[in-house]
Each structure stands twice: as C-alpha cells, then as structure tokens.
Symmetry: C2
Subunit: 477 residues, 2 copies
C-alpha cells in the first residue's frame, strides 16, 4: 500500500464515518462518464465521485477534504467548453457532482425571481419560469445539460447577452461553499447593498477556484408575448455593424440578439441540415439574424416597429435583402440555421476554434484584417467568423486544409494558429476567452498573454481564499 | 525632531526629488477644507495634500508611499455620506485628491460610451453626454461635486437605479492604481470577457481600500426624448408596493424611478420650501413619485402608456388620486419636492439617519412593524421612511423628541436607536448600507453585524491586495 492510497483510505474512512448518507463511489463504471469533457478533449482521473444532496452535506465534505488535503473538482452538467470540470490525470482529486442538488425552491412571480440549487438544469429552469408566465432569458446550446451552478461559475453567455447580459447580470443572490467548508450565504436578493466590495460578483466566473456555488437567486423576466426574427443579407461585416447600430437606435430594448455568419457558413449549414434552405433568394456575403422580442406591454407595436426599422434600413441601403418571420415556426427555422453553424463547420473537417471578443466596433476590421493574414501564413486553411456580433464576440474557426490528419494537425499547425489568433486578439485589446472561460484549455495562454498586473491580482485573491489550492486545481490560474 | 516627522521629511524629500511636477502641499489653509466631510461628522488630519494630474504621476506617488509606509486616503468631491474620504486623526496619511484628473477623453456616440478620468464631476459628465444627444443615467443630490472615481469606489446609487442599476452596472472599463503602485488597466470595453473572475467588479465599491480608481469607461444611453412624472396618493406603503408592481407590469422598461414619502414628510417639505404646494388636493397617507422615460424610439407612445397605466390603476383602486406632469416644469417641480425631503427633515430637528435596504416586497411590512417599535421604545421620537421603494431602499430617519440637545442626543439615545435599527434590518435579511457605503461611519456596525464568513472573505481579499494596509486605512474593514 503506497502512502497515497493510505492517505486516500483514511480520507474515505473519515467520509464514511462522518457522512454515512452521502452518495460517494469509486466504481469506474459510474465515474468514467464524468472523467472526460463532452467534447472529448480532456480526460482525467478521480479518487471518487461524491454527489451530496444538500449544502450542509457538501460543506461537511469540503471540511473533510480540507482536513485531509484532498483536491476538489466541482462538476455540473459536464458541458463546459474549456475542460473546467474535468480533473487532472493524477487521480488525487475528488470529483464533486452537484447534480443531485436540483431543487427549485421558490419562484416569486410578483418579484420576478427564482431561488434554486446549483444542480438545476437550464432547460428545467426555463420550463419552471414559463409555467409562471415568466422567463429566464439566458440560453445556449447546452441548455439540456448545463446547470445553474456551472453557468454561474463560468459566467456563461449565449445568444441573448446583447440585451440581458451574461450570467453575472442575472444573479441576485448566491450561496457557495468556500475552501475551508464555510458557507457564504447571500441568497437574499437586495437590489442595493454596499456592505463592502461585492463577494458575490467575485465568485461568479471564478470557475470553482474560489468557492463551490451551491444555490442562487436569479432574475426572471415577463414571458415573451411576441417575437420577430429577421434574416438579412449584407455585403460585409462592416455593413452588418452599421445595421446593428441602426437597429439599436430604432428598436431600443426590444433588440435581443444580433448574430452574423458568412455565406460559406450558411452554405455549410444548408448542406449539413436535411431540408434546410436559405431564407433569402440571392446570395449575400454575410447573413444577419436579428431577434426582436416584446412582453405583453410591447407586443402590439412590435411587428410595426420591425417593419419601420427594416423600411428605413432599406432606404439607407443598410441591407441588400431581408425577411421577417411570419410566425414562431419560421422564427425557429431561422434560429435552427444559426445553431447549426457550429456542427456544420465541424463536419467540414478538423479545425481550431477560438471564442474571442474585441470592442464591438473593431470586430469588422479585426475579421477583415486577420483572416487574410492567417490564410496567407498557413496556406490551405480557411478562417471563418460567426456568432454574437452584437456583443463583440465571435467564434473564430480556422479550418484545416483538405485531407489533413485531424489529431496531427490540431496538435501541430493548429496549436501554432491558435497562438497566433490569441496574439492578434490581445494586440487588438480583446479577450482570448469571451464566454467559454479559461478552464484547462486556455490556462497556459492566459498565463502567456494576460496582463501581468491582472494575473498577479488573480493569484493573490486565489491564494487568499484557497491557501491550500484545493479548489479545482489546474484550472484558470 | 521626532522619528515620525523625520520619516515624513524623508518621504516628502523623496517625493520632491522624484516628482518635481507634482502638486503637493502642507499648507493648512489649502488642506483644511478637505479634512472634514461635507456633513461635518468627521474631521481628520493629513501629512500633506497631493493632487496628481495623471495616472502615471499618481502611480509613482503610490510607489513612494509604499516604500515609505505612508497611508493614503483617496478623495474625489468629498461628498460621501459615510466619511470614507476623510483621514483619521493621526495625521500620518497622505490625502490624495483626484480632482485635477478631470479630463473626458472620448465620447463614442455610436458605441454609446465615454472614457474619462476619475476626477470628472458627475454634473460635467451629464452635460458632456447631453451635448452628444446621450445621457449618463445615474444621478444623485451631490452631482455638482461627486466625482466619477468616488461614485465607482462607493458603487453609488441614486434615483434611477430601479431601471439602470447602480454604478456597478454602468462601468464598462476601469483603470486603478494598486497598493504597490502597479496600474490595473482594463479600460477597453469588452461586452464579454471571461479571463478569470472579474477584478473590475472587485474594485467597484471597495471604497479605495483595494485600489485607487483613476479612470473609467462608462455606459451611455440615448438622450431622454420624453418624460412624464406621476404624483400619486396611496393609503399605505403596502398600497404603494402594489402600485409599483402594476407599473412594472404595465410600463416595462419605461419605468425609471419609484419614490415614496409619508404625508408628514410632504408637509415638512411644503413648510420648508418657499412657494411649494402639494400636487394633490386631498391629503394622503403616502405619496408616490413615478418617473417614466422614453428615448426617441418610445417617445410617441409614452404619454398614452402612462394614461393607460393610471386608468387601470384607478380602476383596480390602486391609487386614491394621481396627477401626471403636463410639461418639464411640472416634472421638475415634482422632483424638487422629493429632493427637498432630506433637507426638510433635517430642518425639523436632530435625527439619526439610516440608509437601509430589505427585499422590496418586505419593505412595507418592515416599516409598518418597526416604526411603532422604535417610537414605543424611545417615547417622543418619530420614525420617518422615504426614498427608493422600487429598489427596496429607504432612508429611515428617527427624529429626536422636541427641544433636545442635538449633539448630546445623537451621541446617546441616537446611537442606541441606530444600533436597534441596524439589528432589525439585519434580522430582516437586509443591509445596513444600501447605497451610502460603510466608510468610517458604519465600520463598527459592519464588524458587529456582518456575516462572519463574508467578513473573513473581505479581510482575506483586503490583506491579499494591500498587505501593508496603506490604502484608505480605517475604512470599511
């Protein structure tokens, strides 16, 4: 028996003695599905998988981990994009599932908010809100598995950030277990609270490195009463940005989403998606999806507003062509095209993907200037930009030359390209992680390119709140 | 010469040698006006007053302070409510004025944002935005002196928080000088940036204890094109809350402010303000001021919307009486009544004031249950609540019995009452500082009533970022 397994046995013995009701297992069949991230990029090992069913139980477990020096990797739906919920290969960490903590405690429809456990799945939250004629506005592709705790820990974004902000803007109250097992309890939603700097905001987006989110009080909005999705064709990304400004000016708060894709991406979607067809008759260099939404108060005038906005856009020659969804089926069909871009791009062959942001007004120049640089430097590759133009956040994929060995290319040329893209983004004042987080995927790149002052602050705060480094080690910093 | 003055001379000599262009003085005539907070509650001393004119100069000065162990008290307009910008009486601290750093660098009207120095006065910022047909929505009584840096450091609130949030929600980018003189530089406004936990949010509201805010990029909004102010009379605070819900439901995002005052406060205003008269013919137990605002896109339908909302409010018997401002003069006149409550209450005699919040829906019960408790416990006092009901934040004044010695009462019974009010607020899950911050005024109360886990996090982060404790000592924690 090695000293390590000896120590582990002592820890597991203490857990069994102290928390006899805790669900904890070392069975490889139960552990395995959670040791690889959903995209299959990272695989780790864990000494056990624990699934507490209450904050109290979780806090007791963390105290035992702290006493025995056992690192903890918290995990929600395991649908993160950066390997932030996958343990390292040492096998020393305890994998801590939040999925059993999945109660929705209370929806207050008058005050428009919900308090729920960290393990509640986003889709479940959406449905619970809808049942009360309300909605939780944040949504993203992984909504069927992503949990509230994971969304908070990664400050998740998605397609409605333009209007409602990312997760950070929607969290009214928070509960988290800290590295020493103490419970930070600020679930009570106070609209104004200036008792010191904002610890809730500090925990949001900390990727489980400062604390384990166990519950939250979240903002809800009135249900959508009317929705219009506009599909427009424009000659360039600069034209798309001009159209964005026009829509912001003309539609105000009704504007909820502004997504772009180049013609090549739409072609890939049409090819990939059975029965799909282009919304516009003629080809256009760039396509724009505009989501416009109203609650009951604004429903009556929404469609007229969209027509006015489009008419003036045509008049000012801001669009080449455009069509408005006539009903929900059409609106859904437009969104399906947008949501199929990522899988359709993946089907085209191996690629490296970058989730980047720059100030919104710089994005057209950024794409127009950097894509040719990349394509010249690595002949045969293709740089494709699509996504959330309204947030200055695009997903920037660089597709390998035809007939390339995927694994070989991604580890060699692909890595060089990613470094180059991140260099460019940093030079343009942007972020190498707009909405996916750092996790383990971008940890080395953050260390390489992050502002040294910001990095030293991140390290200082991390060390202050988790001096033993037990919370999600190897992630973020 | 004592060792202290010896050390001070060494420090001032180093400053003169290293920063010959820095404005720094020990002249009591120049120092004195800034050593007492505007409400006259706190008076301190300082070894000198320095007024750097650039971040670079300020950072060099802070490095010298760090090297010589000189504490720093940053100060903007000296219009804070909690003594957060007043040095202690030791005379060891350097008073650091940000007022010379008052440049507005750039307003980007298309992107709707402004980058400016920390010393820019709020009123100046308002005017600069208006000149571009834009607005900065945060406003408060001290706008003629409050600076951007002070507003950020205290996460200031005001009357438009209901719709636009407090300062925290309006800061897109931030620059600050840290305790060791390093510059944290995140002025570039990225709508999405997940490179670790949010250091910008950590600095906002830290009252100069973690860093000195030197510049910011702030969010601007389209100018107000149409505004309606409604004055309504309701029978109770519960009725006011019901009216608030009705307005939120019916007016949506057009609702910008929802302020309340009891009849006694309105009476005090009428008595205090020459020429003022009550907006409604009959007396009402509670008065509500509702601000409804639209930019160009929504201007045409705003007034109709208000009429519809009021009509249904009358129908549902949510108001006893109400009147809509017919023009800007009337709107201003209604606001003047609201803004005169604080000075009119002060004129009634000595009082202790509390800036508190509880969840919005609990506020009516809180006031109705606690006011009688206080008035019974201390016969002759009167508890008055007014302010931002829409944010769950009221200013809760307890007025001394008639013919009381102000100073004596405030130091004796007044202090006991404040402790009692803070105990009650804490028991109700609320905050003892909704928008005014902790400063030195509420530091002992925060230590007494704050959640121990939150307090230990505050201390740990403070120690991590300012290990020598040189930034604004004696404030907040």
């Amino acid at each position: 028996m090695t000293p390590t397994t000896d120590r582990l046995d002592t820890f597991l013995g203490a857990v069994a003695a102290t928390l006899p009701d805790l669900t904890i297992t070392q069975d490889p069949d139960l552990l395995d599905p959670w040791l690889t991230d959903w995209r299959g990029r990272f695989t780790g090992r864990a000494c056990a998988l624990a699934s507490p069913d209450s904050t109290h139980q979780l806090a007791s477990l963390v105290r035992l981990c702290a006493a025995h020096g056992v690192p903890i990797v918290p995990q929600g739906g395991n649908s993160g994009m950066s390997g932030g919920a996958t343990p390292d290969v040492s096998g020393e960490a305890l994998l801590l599932s939040l999925r059993k903590m999945n109660r929705i405690h209370a929806i207050d429809s008058a005050a428009r908010r919900v308090t729920c456990d960290a393990g509640v799945v986003l889709q479940t939250l959406h449905e619970a809100a809808e049942a009360q004629d309300l909605r939780f506005p944040l949504t993203l592709g992984g909504k069927g598995s992503a949990t509230v705790g994971g969304l908070i820990s990664t400050n998740a974004g998605g397609t409605q950030v333009l209007r409602h902000g990312s997760m950070r803007a929607l969290v009214l109250g928070l509960e988290a277990v800290l590295a020493d097992g103490q419970v930070f309890s600020m679930l009570t939603p106070l609209k104004k609270d200036n008792r010191g700097f904002d610890l809730k905001q500090l925990l949001i987006g900390s990727e489980g490195t400062l604390g384990i989110v166990t519950a939250a009080t979240l903002k809800l909005l009135p249900a959508v009463a009317e929705r219009v999705v506009i599909w427009a064709g424009v000659p360039s990304l600069h034209a798309a940005r001009k159209l964005l400004l026009h829509c912001e000016e003309s539609m105000g708060d009704a504007l909820e989403g502004f997504e772009v894709m180049p013609s090549a991406s739409l072609d890939a979607v049409i090819e990939h998606l059975p029965g799909a067809r282009a919304p516009l008759g003629e080809p256009h260099a760039w396509h724009v999806l505009i989501e416009v939404v109203a609650d009951r108060a604004g429903a009556a005038t929404l469609r007229d507003g969209c027509e006015t906005t489009l008419a003036s856009a045509f008049e000012a020659e801001l669009v080449e062509d455009a069509v408005m969804s006539a009903n929900e089926t059409q609106a859904e069909a437009f969104w399906l095209l947008r949501e199929t871009v990522a899988p359709a791009e993946r089907a085209r062959g191996p690629a490296v993907q970058h989730d980047i942001s720059v100030p919104v007004e710089l994005m057209p120049d950024f794409v127009e200037e950097t894509a040719p640089l990349i394509e010249a430097k690595w002949p045969g590759v293709e740089a494709v930009a699509f996504g959330h133009l309204g947030d200055g956040n695009i997903h920037y994929h660089v597709i390998a030359p035809a007939a390339t060995d995927a694994r070989l290319w991604q580890e060699g040329e692909g890595k060089q390209i990613s470094r180059y893209v991140h260099d460019l983004v940093t030079r343009w004042g942007g972020s190498i992680s707009a909405e996916h987080g750092i996790g383990q995927l971008k940890r080395a790149e953050l260390a390489r390119l992050g502002d040294p002052v910001a990095l030293s602050m991140l390290h200082a705060v991390k060390h202050a709140l988790d001096p033993k480094g037990l919370l999600n080690p190897g992630k973020l910093i």
